[in-house]
Amino acid sequence: MKAYEKAIEKLILISAIVTTVSVALITVFIFKTGMPILLQYGVLDFITGTDWSPTSEIFGIMPLIIGTLAVTLGALIIGVPTGIACAVYLSEIASKKTAGPFKAAIELLAGIPSVVYGFFGLIVLVPAIRNYILPIFQKFNPDLNTSGFSILAGAVILAIMILPTIVSLSENAITAVPQEFREASLALGANKRETIMKVIVPAAKSGIFSSVILAMGRAIGETMAVLLITGNVAQMPGSILDPVATLTGTIAMEMSYAGPTHQQALFAIGIVLFIIIMLLNILAQAVMKKMGGVN
């Protein structure tokens, strides 16, 4: 009986290690495949090069990095205030009766596959930008033109996609603020708005901050939606109506026809992406740990 129990315990331990082994394997295989070209081409040239022409074996990913950053930044500018507002609404303002369905709706947003978002963006947002947003921009700059495939399209769709992450984590952080904080603030004569703005949100700020970091990771790593609506043109964008290619989109699109060297270069992009996401993850964990220490 004892030996049986021991064996089971070992099996369970092995299962627990599977995730760790997977992370190790992923790291090894991405680096093993992408590293040779990175070293051969030069890490600095690869990252700072402004020309991505894989067919002539020129691999500079700066335009892709800029593309990813532009789309992500746009998504955060739209998504973060909206997400925090939803979290405040859910935890401080809404009645139980409205909070329930509202929360379910936000969760539903998280469940919709990214390719569906991409399709929606392609069929609704891209033409809308071409037909309705462009004329507005042209009032200020008549030379501007766009096909609709743009940073703006990517940013709007990504903003919707990162909402659930921001809302659920921020809401957790806000709910975790002790009731005494609210009572003390109200007892001192502050009204509800002042309590929310000056006591509750500041008290929950590290949780909110880490939700923003995780949302940023999601936006950077998102592939299918971005692939369908940002245009995939590896060039430096001049305005938010210009098309861009992102790190993820370039990998997804070009893997299907890439030759051996080109394929390695795509894995090298994977390395860059992997490192960015790791750093963001570690940052988010550190912020959360700090938050745990404060409460």
Binding site: E5, E9, A16, I30, A104, P113, I160, M224, A252
Partner: protein
């Protein structure tokens, strides 16, 4: 500005931003359902596609989605549940356990396209499985593990300590306690994790795109290439093949997601009621 108008503006901003979030959801779901539902006919569900998906239905693609999802769930469930049991029942808060936990979190944060690259380099090329149901399923297995582990662990935590003590004091061993007392209590948590994992597997595209090949023919073995609904939607949308079929596929995906969400919510609602 006086206090009263400041308050009014504050509430107006909060409520309108929240409404904006809700409206975008309704817009996306509503638009796709309205445009796509008419296309979901019995022919669409029961026929094979012809002319690159321009005509016919998506039966082999539905089957392909089921195969890939099933492979992922069959492999991931025992591993995920066992890992959660380890974290909640066996592990102590040591450095190595914290590290394993950290890597589980890390795995959850890795973008799907990286999983795709890995699946391609490891399962398709290195293991020699080729573009196949198995390669895609195994890649998805790793992707959904964190979801499963988290959901199971959450429900393990809700089992009162006294249950464990009661069982152990009656002479049951630790494993007997886990199998006969603790796991039956958190069936619904495991089920929620499974359903959420299923949702992730069905909706995933980028990882699948680089590992299953994309063939529209009916897969006959685990080593055949296939195509999932999400991938099919991408192919149709990016190539502009047939608007009607694209909407119908998207609507079908949304319906599946709606069903999955409803079931998951219902289970966790009952769970809260019980505890």
């Amino acid at each position: 500005m006086n206090k009263k108008s400041k308050n009014a503006i504050f509430y107006a901003i909060i409520v309108s931003l929240s409404a904006l979030a809700l409206i975008s959801l309704i817009l996306i779901v509503g638009f796709i359902l309205i445009k796509g539902l008419p296309g979901i006919t019995t022919e669409f569900l029961s026929q094979s596609p012809s002319k690159m998906g321009k005509e016919g239905g998506i039966l082999p693609i539905i089957i392909g989605t089921l195969y890939v999802t099933l492979v992922a769930l069959v492999i991931a469930t025992p591993i995920g549940v066992a890992a959660a049991i380890y974290f909640n029942e066996y592990s102590k808060d040591t450095r190595s356990v914290r590290m394993i936990r950290f890597f589980t979190e890390v795995l959850a944060g890795i973008p799907s396209i990286i999983f795709g690259l890995f699946g391609f380099a490891f399962f398709v090329v290195f293991m020699g499985l080729g573009w196949s149901v198995l390669s895609g399923g195994l890649t998805l297995t790793i992707m959904i593990l964190p979801t499963l582990i988290r959901a199971t662990e959450e429900s393990l935590k809700t089992v009162p300590m006294s249950y464990r003590e009661g069982s152990l004091s009656l002479g049951a061993t630790k494993w007997q306690t886990i199998v006969k007392v603790i796991l039956p209590c958190c069936k619904s948590g495991v089920l929620t994790g499974l359903i959420l994992g299923m949702g992730r597997a069905i909706g995933e595209t980028a990882a699948v795109m680089l590992t299953i090949g994309g063939s529209m023919r009916m897969a006959e073995s685990l080593l055949d290439p296939t195509r999932t609904m999400a991938l099919h939607l991408y192919m149709l949308a990016s190539e502009g093949i047939s608007e009607e079929k694209t909407y119908a596929t998207a609507a079908l995906l949304i319906i599946i997601v709606l069903i999955i969400n409803t079931i998951a919510n219902e289970i966790s609602r009952r769970m809260i009621k019980l505890s």
